[in-house]
């Protein structure tokens, strides 16, 4: 069996904002060379986790390790191995593309100027144009270019798709996947645009308020998590209480039942509860469908 070293390990992470619990005893492990996507609704704790990972937030209890070092006290050597993209592609907006490259190049021993300018040369920008006057897509490319030039072993990307149009999102995702896979980089990322994740990630962590809903490989999740659709006039409230039901949504007669159970088990369950389904069928779920199926629409 292949054993992988964990690049990121969070153990029993608990955090509160004031008295509001964000999560309790959260455990995360990201193996070397894996791309993990953290999904969750607004306020589920995605950015909190990213901030703890970068040492910008001290958890109430528990510990996060990156390359075996506590993220609250990362050494400069370990920090140089981490590429960090801040939500909204925030960069030093008072610099232009040359100044920002010159600035960062002094900090990273493996700095690859060419990787940065390969990406920047694709942008339709003026040579001395300030980052503050660039579009969100252009800023995203600058931020990505800087990370590629840094050549980190671990990339932490907070909501990388925020503000990007579909073209830039696709460019970003394809570039990133190719880069990470060809060089064995580990990636930990969050995004609101779930369809982007599908093209990019190996593993998935889905968080809801105060808890983890799923943690595992994306392929396992897409294979095991199912959505069954049917119509009925019967009372289905008992179905929602059954442990095999992950989520049940009902709109008039139309029911959507999300589960890890097999079709046979669900049909037996319906029969057991005296529910007569009409047009019972399973639908292939995209990651976005599955995410909404798992977390609920509201």
């Amino acid at each position: 069996m292949e054993t992988r070293t964990n690049v990121i390990e969070c153990r029993n992470l608990t955090h509160y904002y004031g008295k509001k619990l964000v999560y309790e005893n959260l455990n995360i492990a990201v193996g070397e060379g894996r791309i993990l996507g953290l999904l969750g609704k607004n306020g589920a704790g995605k950015s909190t986790t990213i901030n703890i990972l970068n040492g910008f937030l001290a958890p109430r209890s528990g510990q996060c390790l990156i390359y075996g070092e506590d993220t609250q006290h990362l050494s400069p050597a370990t920090k140089s191995r981490i590429g960090y993209l801040i939500e909204g592609h925030i960069q030093y907006s008072f610099m232009n593309v040359y100044q920002i490259e010159k600035f960062y190049s002094g900090f990273y021993p493996k700095w690859d100027r060419e990787a940065y300018f390969n990406l920047i040369n694709r942008l339709k920008i003026l040579p001395r144009q300030k980052i503050s006057s660039m579009s969100c897509g252009q800023r995203a490319q600058v931020a990505l270019g800087l990370i590629l030039a840094q050549d980190p072993d671990l990339l932490i990307l907070d909501d990388f798709s925020l503000g990007l149009d579909p073209g830039y999102r696709r460019l970003f995702v394809d570039y990133l996947r190719e880069y990470a896979k060809s060089r064995g980089k580990t990636v930990f990322l969050t995004s609101h645009i779930i369809q982007d994740m599908e093209r990019l990630i190996d593993d998935i962590l889905i968080m809801d308020y105060n808890r983890v809903l799923y943690q595992g490989s994306l392929s396992d999740f897409q294979r095991d998590f199912k959505g069954f659709f049917f119509e009925t006039s019967d009372d289905v409230s008992a179905l929602a209480q059954d442990p095999r039901t992950v989520n049940l949504e009902r709109l008039n007669r139309r029911c959507e039942l999300y589960t890890y159970a097999s079709q046979e088990e669900i049909l037996a369950l319906l029969q057991e509860r005296g529910i007569t389904p009409e047009g019972f069928h399973r639908e292939a779920l995209t990651l976005e469908d599955a995410f909404i199926g798992l977390t609920g629409k509201y």
Partner: protein
């Protein structure tokens, strides 16, 4: 090497404001001496100097400089730290592969260097011009009067940085008020030249003592406290 790169970033942020502060400061110094020369022309140099020496209270022709060093500190501090705290951009700096303490110290060192550079130019021009118009008996007490005004720029800069880096609004307010009430008694123009010269001692102590507080604010910022 790292210091050079940090200074480069800080320079890109502050170069125009430093230049503006220098131009404004020099304009004030030149305008001040323009008025002095005008006064000497009108009253005669001897009468003018007698007014500076023996009027009760004496003529404080240099009063116009009172807030200039403070303004320089505000210019440097605000343009240096505002872009960092906007969108919590300082996370970019703190993520650099250098210890956070060192990074913040280098940033603050840059601010101190820039304030000192601008102050030295202004002070130098002021002294040079003063020496051409007045004898040492007038120049020396005047320099003793303006010295605390230049020195107050340093603790003021530290307070500005401390307020900017502090993540909590109410603490920012407390720091700002503390800075204001601590420093405002020293931003005064005494009636007699050199009368507040001894305030350089508490000001120097405050400049040094407030420096570590800046590190405390940056620590709180980086830990999301």
């Amino acid at each position: 090497m790292i210091l050079r790169h940090i200074f480069y970033k800080e320079w890109l942020k502050t170069r125009w404001s430093c230049l503006a502060a220098l131009v404004l400061g020099l304009s004030m110094v030149f305008y001040l001496f323009l008025r002095v020369e005008n006064g000497m022309e009108r009253l005669g140099a001897k009468v003018y100097m007698l007014r500076v020496l023996y009027d009760n209270p004496p003529l404080t022709y240099y009063r116009m400089l009172l807030y200039v060093p403070l303004l320089i500190a505000v210019c440097v501090g605000v343009t240096q730290y505002l872009p960092e705290v906007a969108n919590r951009r300082i996370r970019l700096t703190l993520h650099l592969p250098v210890s956070n303490t060192r990074l913040v110290l280098y940033m603050a060192l840059y601010g101190v260097v820039m304030i000192t550079a601008v102050n030295l130019i202004l002070f130098g021009v002021f002294v040079a011009k003063n020496c051409t118009l007045f004898p040492a008996e007038i120049t020396l007490p005047v320099l003793r009067s303006v010295a605390p005004w230049f020195l107050v720029a340093y603790p003021a800069y530290n307070f500005i940085a401390m307020v900017a880096l502090e993540p909590h609004r109410w603490r920012q307010l407390v720091y700002a008020l503390t800075g204001y009430f601590t420093l405002s008694p020293f931003v005064v123009c005494g009636e007699y030249p050199g009368s507040y010269f001894l305030s350089v001692i508490p000001l120097a102590v405050m400049a040094v003592a407030s420096f570590p507080l800046l590190l405390y604010s940056s620590y709180r910022f980086s830990k999301g406290l």
